[in-house]
C-alpha cells in the first residue's frame, strides 16, 4: 500500500488546484468542449477577468447531462457559482432540484428564436438540429423529415443513441414533435435507413466524414465549420419543410453563487459581446446575445428553418423515459 499512498501524495501535490491569492474567484462548472483550447472558454475567461479583475476558474465535466448530475450530487455544498452548459431538455429537471437561483439580470440582450421567458436560466447560444449530408455522395437530399423517414433505404444515415447523446435525444424529440403518436411508426420506417446508432455525436460524425454514410444527424451550423475552417462547401445541411428542432444552451446561478457578487456580473457579461463574439466560431452555435463582431458570411448561407420546433421542458422531463422506451422497441425489432 505504500506505493499507492506515495503516488496519491505525489498526485495530490501535482494536481493541487491553483490557489488564488488575493483575487476574488468565480467558479464556473461547464462541459469539456467549452474549455478546450479552441473552445470559447479561454477567450471568455480572458475577457471577463480583464473586466472584473477577478480569477475565473472553469471546472469541466463531460457534457450537459454529466454537469447536472455533478451539481445534483454535490447538492447545496457545490463549489460552483455558475453552471454553464445545460440545455432546454434539462432545465425542468434542474429547476426541480432546487439548487438554482433566479438570475435577476436584465434580459434585454437575450435573443433566441421564439423568445425567452425563464427567470432562472439565461441562454448563451442556440442551434438547430439538422441532417447534414455529403454533396458528393447525395445529389438530392431529403427536403422534409417525411422524405427522410420514407426515403431510399440504400441511402444511409448515422444517428446517435438518445440514451447517451444530446443530438440523439434531439432527433427523438424532433420526430415526436412532427409525428406525435405516430412517432413509433416513423421510427420503424426510418430504421431501414439507419446505418448504425453511435453512443455520441463524435463517433457518428467521424463515420460520416469517413464516407461510411452520406447523412448524419448534426446541427445546421455544422457546415459553417467546414466552410470557414476547412474552406469547403462539401458538407451541407438539408432544410426540412416541417421545421427544425431547437436546442438552447443556458447557464444559471447556483444557490451558492447567489452570494458571490461576481456570479451575477458574469451572467450579465455572458449576454454581451465580450462573451457572445466568441461563440459562433468556437462553439459553432448561434449567439444568443448581443454581438459586436458581425457573423462570418458563411453563417448567412446556413439553412434557415421554416419553423422552430421545441417541446416544453416539463413535457420532455415527464415523458423522456416513455419516449426512449418507445424508440427502443421500434428500433430493436
Amino acid at each position: 500500500m505504500r506505493i499507492f499512498s506515495l503516488l496519491l501524495t505525489a498526485f495530490s501535490l501535482l494536481a493541487a488546484p491553483h490557489v488564488a491569492a488575493a483575487k476574488d474567484t468565480l467558479t464556473v462548472y461547464t462541459y469539456e468542449s467549452f474549455t478546450a483550447e479552441w473552445g470559447p472558454g479561454p477567450q471568455v475567461e480572458k475577457a471577463f477577468e480583464a473586466e472584473c479583475g477577478c480569477d475565473v476558474k472553469f471546472v469541466a465535466v463531460a457534457d450537459g447531462v454529466a454537469l447536472l448530475n455533478r451539481v445534483k450530487l454535490e447538492g447545496k455544498a457545490t463549489k460552483a457559482d455558475i453552471v454553464l452548459g445545460l440545455d432546454t431538455n434539462l432545465t425542468a429537471e434542474a429547476k426541480a432540484s432546487g439548487l438554482f437561483a433566479p438570475s435577476g439580470i436584465d434580459m434585454a440582450n437575450v435573443n433566441v428564436p421564439g423568445g425567452w421567458a425563464d427567470d432562472t436560466f439565461v441562454p448563451f447560444d442556440y442551434g438547430y438540429f439538422a441532417v447534414v449530408y455529403d454533396t458528393q455522395a447525395l445529389k438530392t437530399p431529403p427536403a422534409s423529415l417525411k422524405e427522410l423517414v420514407e426515403g431510399d433505404p440504400e441511402q444511409k444515415i448515422v444517428i446517435q443513441d438518445p440514451r447517451t447523446s444530446t443530438p440523439g435525444l434531439g432527433l427523438l424529440l424532433w420526430v415526436k414533435a412532427v409525428y406525435g403518436d405516430k412517432a413509433a411508426d416513423a421510427w420503424k420506417l426510418l430504421r431501414r435507413r439507419v446505418l448504425t446508432v453511435t453512443p455520441g455525436w463524435s463517433e457518428s460524425y467521424g463515420l460520416f466524414t469517413k464516407g461510411e454514410a452520406p447523412m448524419v444527424l448534426s446541427y445546421t451550423t455544422s457546415p459553417a465549420y467546414h466552410m470557414i475552417s476547412e474552406k469547403t462547401d462539401r458538407y451541407q445541411a438539408a432544410a426540412f419543410a416541417e421545421g427544425h428542432y431547437l436546442e438552447v444552451e443556458v447557464a444559471a446561478l447556483t444557490v451558492n453563487g447567489e452570494k458571490n457578487p461576481l456570479a451575477k456580473k458574469f451572467l450579465a457579461f455572458m449576454t454581451g459581446p465580450g462573451f457572445q463574439d466568441a461563440i459562433p466560431e468556437t462553439n459553432w452555435m448561434f449567439p444568443a446575445g448581443r454581438i459586436d463582431k458581425p457573423l462570418d458570411p458563411a453563417f448567412d448561407r446556413l439553412v434557415k428553418p421554416a419553423r422552430t420546433l421545441l417541446l416544453p421542458s416539463e413535457e420532455v422531463a415527464a415523458n423522456r423515459k416513455a419516449w426512449v422506451d418507445e424508440w427502443l422497441s421500434a428500433m430493436s425489432k
Binding site: 488546484p17 471546472v59 469541466a60 450530487l73 455544498a77 448504425t196
Partner: protein, 526 residues
Amino acid sequence: MTTRSTAGAAPATPLPGLAALGFVGLVVGGAFAGLIAEGARDPQGAAAALDGYMLRVAGFTLFQAAASTVLSVVPAIAVARALSRHPRFFGRSLILKLFAVPLALPAIVAAMGILSLFGRAGWFAAAFSAMTGGTWPGIYGLSGILLAHVFFNLPLAARLFAEALETVPADQWRLSSQLGMRAGIVFRLIEWPVLRAALPGVAGLVFMLCVTSFTIVLTLGGGPAASTLEVAIYQALRFDFDPARAVVLTLAQVALTLIVVAFLVRIGANLSGDANLAVTNRRYMAASGSERVFDGFCIAAALLLVAGPMAAIVAAGLEADLWRLVREASFLRATATSLVLATASATLAAALAWSLTAAGRRLAGSASFVLVVPPIVIGAGWFVLLRTVADVFAIAPAMVVAVNAIMAMPFALRAIRPAHDAAAARHDRLCAALGIGGWNRLRLIDWPALRRPLATALTFAAALSLGDLGVIALFGSDTVKTLPYLLYERMGSYRTADAAGLALLLGAFCLLLILAADRLGRTEDT
C-alpha cells in the same frame, strides 16, 4: 510491498496477497458502498432494473461475448503454437510486440480502423460489392462486433498462450524431437496440457472484456438491438444518475460472468509442474514441410488481422498535420500525463498481480472479476463517497491510477501465472530444503524466472492504461487530460484529422512502451 510475496509458495496465504486482495476489495467495495448508500435514498430504480428489455440485453451480452471468445481463443491457440514452434524467424519479436498494441487503442479508433477495411466505404468495399453483386452493406451488425472483438482479443490471447508455452521445459522438446514425435502427438502430450491449464484464465479474460464492451457494440452493432449491460450501466450512472439501478445491473453482470467463468474453470486443468531443472537451454525444432506451411499460414493470418486495421490507422494518421500536433502544448501535456499515469498504473498492476499469483490460484481468480465492474461504477461510487470529505479534483489522478491498475491487474496476472506456477513447482521443495527464502529467494530464484513475464505484464498493463478513459466521467478531467482524452476532444469538435493523428501517435507510444518493457525483461542469455 513485493519483497516477501514469493513466500506465497507456502500453503498459508501470504500477507502481500491478502494486502493486494484487500486493496482491490477496498476500491471495489468502497465504490459499491457509496452507490448503495446513495441509491438507498431512491431505490425504485433497483426494482425496475431487470425488465424484459434488460433480459434481452443480458442475453445478447452473453451471446456476443461467448461467440467473440470462441472466435478469438481457438485461432489464438494455433497462432501461439505456431509462434512457439518457430522461435527464431525474422520479424517474430516485432509481431509479438504488435500484438500488444490493439489493447492500447481506444475502442472508437479500432472501430474506425476496421471500418477503413470492411466498411461501406472501406478499402475492400468495391471487391466485396463485385463478389456479392450488390452494394456492400459494410460489416455493421453482429459480424462487425465479432470482428472488432477478435481484432482486440486474438492477439492478446495468442501472446498469453505463447507465454504459457514458454514454460515447457526445453528438455521435453528435446526428448520429443529425439523420439521423433509427430506434431499431433507433441500437441497432445506436451502443448495441450500447458495450453489447457492456461485456457480458463485466457478465455475468462477475453470473455470478460467482451461482456463489458460498449463503444464497439454500439458503433458497429447497427442499432439498439445490439446493446450490452455495460451500456445500460453507463446510462444509469451518467445520464439518469440512478445508482440503485446501476448497482443491480452491475451485480447482474458480475453474476452472469461468474457462472460462465465457473464453467470455463471446469474445462481447464491444474498443471502438475515439472520439478526438474532444465538442462537444455534451447528449443529443438523439427517441423515438417506441411507443418511449416500451416504454421506460416496461422501467423500470417493473425498478422493480417492485426496489421490491416493498424495500417489503416497509420494511413489516416499520416494525413494529419503531425508536425504541428506534436508541438502543441496540449499534446505535450497530455503525453506526459498519459505516460506518468500509465507507468504508475502498470507498476501497481504488476505488483498486485505478483502478490496475488503468489497467494494462489483461487485468490487470484476471484480478484479478476473486477474486470466486469465498469470503471464508471468505481469512479461514480468513490465520487459519491469522497465528495463531502475531500477535494475530488485532487483525488482524480490517484483514482485513475488505482482503477487502471486494478483493471489491468487481471492481464498482468495471466502473463505472470504460468511462469510463476512452473517455477514454483520446480523450486519450492528445493528452496524449502535449502532454507532459501525472503529476499534471497526473490533475487536468486524467482526474479530470473519471472523477469520476462513481468515485463509482459507491465507491457499489457501500460498499454491498457494508456487507452483508458472511463473512470473520470464525473470527477472532471482537467487534471487528468490524457492522450485518448485529447483524441476524443478533437473528435468532438470536428477535428477528425487531428484525432486520426493522435491515434497514430498513441499507437506509436504504446509500441515504444512495449519496446522499453521488453528491454527490461530481456534475459542475459538471449
